[in-house]
């Protein structure tokens, strides 16, 4: 083991026993991309069935499995692990740490993910089919009326929760203990800040999700009645518990995205981030508010009007810190000297589309209007504007931005830009018309629809196929870069980039900051 510290182990054991933050980050990123393709394939099946009115390709029960699995895989399998992978790669390099604080736990939190998703995907081949109750799995559809495979689903969610909690503890421990001398909290890069806050959100709400699925398990197998009125329980209790997890969860997804964008825009504007302090405070405010707005997902369950008003006001308030962020990004661009390489294009796409998603979010927060929007395609359009154009666009930007540093090779810029434009157009063609059909009265999660919605649904499906195809281009570009990209050796890949990660050699060696840097 004498040469253990000089480089990675050979063969499979390098990955199986990985404790290096870069290797684990790489595994997270590849795993999440694989899940992104699986979840995307499910989305393609959904859009293919919705291409025309009538049932053509699949049966309604399978359609429900597709919408459920698409949501679960994208949220828990694609977006969350992607940002954890990014955190693994970048946080130690950004704060001048040699590795994550808890490397063996890091290994464990990654390696329990693949079995969890195998379990989840395997349910589709079980008798009665996989989960078909939506990614929000409202009881009693997910308990008394669920297929038998729901028990495997519950176990899968437990494992995912464990993985997330361990990953988060690791990030908190790393950020608190391994910052380089002179790296005070208010000097940390925004990406580190947003992840630090995200980690606390995860630690707070993942146990709540575990509690919700455990109560389901008890109701299904051990005769309890948490969610059944017949035994003195309440189906709405499930929704309160779920959304107490679920609303912070959507900020868990979007906060690291904010962090990425806050790193990239200054680099290509060649100007420091505007309002660093207010960015940190805005992130913290959003995190706090995320705990007191959950019931805005439940305006139609029949809450008393006082509750309805409280949740409406609290939800509207979120517009303030979110607005601050958008204004700060735009002011960062203002009077900069901008260039528009692929990462910057994706970030600008993010700002535009996320802001549109924010506007529809504000509309949805208004409880009386929400009686018309709730559970319609308007909601589907809204959350894809914030989830896809928010999280996925920023994640894509992050890969283009840091890939040259990771592998020491430059990606093909023309192909990157083509990827951006096809994604941007495909995304909008898919989701913009969904606002229209939602407002015109099309409910979400239906396998077939009335004739008046036919045109916009066909347009939406075409957009989805374009957007889906553009991801193949992305995959090709990344592989081509790793295999045969133009080698680069500048420490600073981008002339405007700032931060400790750009002070290490390119490609980033297996071990960085074995001796801590001094931050002024």
């Amino acid at each position: 083991m004498g040469d253990h510290h000089h480089g990675p182990a050979k063969g499979l054991s390098r990955w199986l026993f990985a404790t290096n933050h870069k290797d684990i980050g790489t595994m997270y990123l590849w795993f999440s991309f694989a899940m992104f393709l699986v979840g995307g394939a499910f989305a393609m099946i959904i859009r293919a069935e919705l291409f025309q009115p009538g049932m053509q390709l699949i049966r309604p029960e399978f359609f429900n499995q597709m919408t459920t699995m698409h949501g679960l895989i994208m949220v828990f399998g694609a977006i969350m692990p992607a940002f954890v992978g990014l955190a693994n790669w970048m946080i130690p390099m950004m704060i001048g740490a040699p590795d994550m604080a808890l490397p063996r736990m890091n290994n464990w939190s990654f390696w329990i993910l693949p079995p969890a998703f195998l379990l989840l995907l395997a349910t589709m081949f079980m008798e009665g089919g996989g989960p078909a109750f939506g990614w929000t799995f409202y009881a009693p559809l997910s308990t008394t009326y669920a297929p038998p495979s729901v028990t495997f689903f519950i176990f899968g969610v437990h494992i995912l929760g464990l993985s997330s909690i361990m990953g988060s503890i690791n990030i908190v421990a790393t950020v608190m203990n391994l910052r380089a001398p002179g790296m005070t909290y208010m000097k940390m890069p925004l990406f580190v800040w947003t992840w630090f806050i995200t980690a606390y959100l995860l630690i707070a709400v993942m146990p709540v999700l575990a509690g919700a699925v455990t109560m389901m398990l008890m109701d299904i197998h051990f005769g309890t009645s948490f969610f059944s009125a017949a035994g003195g329980g309440d189906p709405v209790l499930f929704q309160h518990v779920f959304w107490f997890f679920g609303h912070p969860e959507v900020y868990i997804i979007i906060l690291p995205a904010f962090g990425v964008v806050s790193q990239i825009i200054p680099a290509f504007a060649r100007k420091p981030l505007f309002g660093y302090d207010s960015m940190v405070y805005a992130t913290a405010s959003i995190a706090f508010l995320s705990f007191i707005v959950w019931a805005h997902h439940m305006y139609t369950v029949g809450m008393p009007i006082a509750g309805e008003l409280f949740f409406m006001y609290a939800t509207m308030l979120i517009a303030v810190p979110t607005g601050v962020k958008v204004f700060n990004w735009i002011t960062t661009m203002w009077r900069g000297a901008m260039t528009f390489e692929t990462p910057m294009l994706f970030c600008i796409g993010f700002v535009v589309l996320f802001t549109i998603g924010g506007f529809t979010g504000l509309m949805l927060s208004i409880a009386p209007s929400d009686f018309q929007y709730h559970d319609s395609y308007f909601v589907v359009a809204h959350f894809h504007y914030v989830m896809v154009a928010g999280a996925v666009f920023s994640m894509t930007a992050a890969v283009y931005y840091w890939l040259p540093k990771w592998c020491g090779k430059m990606y093909n810029e023309t192909m990157g830009k083509t990827h951006f434009w096809i994604s941007f157009i495909g995304f909008n063609v898919t989701f913009f018309p969904q606002h229209f059909v939602g407002l015109a009265g099309m409910p979400r999660r239906i396998p077939d629809y009335a004739l008046q919605f036919a045109d916009f649904n066909m347009i939406s499906s075409i957009g989805a196929f374009i957007y889906g195809a553009s991801q193949i281009l992305f995959l090709y570009n990344v592989i081509a870069t790793i295999v045969g990209g133009k080698p680069i050796s500048d420490e600073k890949v981008w002339d405007g980039a700032e931060g400790l990660e750009w002070t290490v050699p390119t490609p980033a060696p297996f071990h960085t900051f074995s001796t801590p840097p001094q931050v002024r």
Partner: protein, 388 residues
């Protein structure tokens, strides 16, 4: 560089234009879908709906104005502050005044939105003084409407999707109200405050009729209240809005708003029908009568899961089934009380009246090659239920 980017852009756009041009002339495009390009919410036919619509438009236009300002600044910056124009970047990175301004101004705008939102919400919640109460119960996958009245019999009926399976599976042309048509709509009078008491039998459903500005979750074991007052007669169509299982997309809510006297007449007829069913309960039927009636009931209540020829599907096969060809008691038990092992097989005892129950049991025991020769009369069903 710029030219290159532009050619990349048009290259990327090309397939979009190609596909869009094809999409805009789909084969079924005719007058059937009269609201084909509807892009916005409608005020509908209620005061609340009009209030919600104007609230919706108010917030929308505020967002549009903010969007124009924010994106305008951004795109100007993208145009003017690009490196290729030879600019040198500024170095400023904070301004307390500006940051306070863009925290406070949005807050004030939000206050302005909260006022009309609150007053509309208070109106939505005012369910007092309704003239008519209707108990709406969501079932997998149909609705039951029960008119609660102080005098006379309660009128109660199920409202099922009328669209034929052949239309859904593309073996037949799709009708004008594809997926939005029911065998028996709810009927309410115009200019009358109607209160809906909304609940569910099995899983959570949600009653949504956009033009009546009604959406309320139907939750098993709990009763929610909501209301409407339609100002115009007409047929208003909506759908279940909460995922409720396999046929969530196939349980429309159709409300027929009629003049008051027409409503009174309709209600009187329904009450007479209820009395008639009570009378039928005491009759004895022939095999032909039971099988004919039973087939109608089967198509309405059983076909979706058990198949048009009893071949099964989501549910087990009826043709050659050990239950339908087994002892009568077991057959009655599972149809009346539902399956203890499989929640998908509901209890139909409360959904079908005793005449229909007798008919469908007789039908199942004598159709699809199940030639049992059994004859079940309404009184048998009644006695079975009493004996439990």
């Amino acid at each position: 560089m710029l030219r290159k980017a532009r050619s990349v852009f048009w290259l990327a756009m090309f397939p979009v234009f190609l596909l869009l041009s094809g999409a805009l002339s789909p084969a079924w495009a005719d007058e059937k879908a009269d609201r084909r390009y509807q892009v916005n919410m409608e005020p509908g036919v209620t005061e609340i709906g009009a209030d919600i619509f104007s609230l919706h438009m108010l917030i929308f236009w505020i967002c549009v104005v903010i969007g124009i300002v924010v994106f305008g600044v951004m795109f100007y910056s993208i145009y003017a502050h690009r490196k290729s124009r030879g600019v040198t970047p500024a170095t400023f990175h904070e301004s307390t005044k500006v940051e306070i301004a863009w925290t406070v101004v949005p807050f004030l705008i939000l206050l302005g939105m909260a006022v009309p939102a609150t007053s509309t919400l208070i109106d939505v919640y005012d369910t007092e003084d309704a003239e008519i109460d209707i108990l709406v119960t969501g079932y997998q996958w149909k609705w039951k409407y029960e008119y609660l009245s102080d005098e006379g019999e309660n009128v109660s009926f199920f409202s099922n999707l009328k669209t034929a399976q052949e239309e859904i599976y593309n073996e037949d042309d799709k009708g004008q109200f594809y997926l939005l048509d029911v065998d028996e709509p709810m009927v309410i009078p115009v200019d009358t405050k109607v209160r809906f008491l909304v609940t569910a039998y099995d899983v959570i459903h949600s009653m949504w009729v956009p033009e009546l500005a009604v959406k309320k979750d139907a939750i098993p074991g709990f009763i929610n209240e909501t209301w409407t007052r339609a100002t115009e007669t007409g047929v208003y169509r909506g759908q279940c809005a909460e995922l409720c299982g396999k046929d969530h997309g196939f349980m429309p809510v159709v409300v027929n708003v009629v003049e008051r006297d027409e409503y009174d007449q309709w209600l009187a007829e329904k009450q007479a029908q209820a009395a008639e069913i009570a009378a039928l309960m005491e009759q004895t039927f022939s095999m032909d009568e039971l099988v004919t009636r039973g087939k109608d009931v089967y198509d309405r209540a059983c076909l979706a899961c058990h198949g048009a020829n009893g071949e099964g599907g989501v549910g087990k096969a009826i043709a050659g089934s050990a239950i339908a060809m087994g002892p009568l008691g077991g057959h009655m038990d599972i149809v009346i009380n539902g399956s203890r092992n499989n929640a998908a097989m509901q209890a139909f005892g409360g959904q079908l009246n005793d005449v229909d129950m007798a008919a469908v049991l007789t039908f199942q025991r004598n159709a699809f090659g199940n030639n049992m020769g059994d004859l079940i009369q309404p009184i048998d069903v009644y006695n079975y239920k009493q004996g439990q």
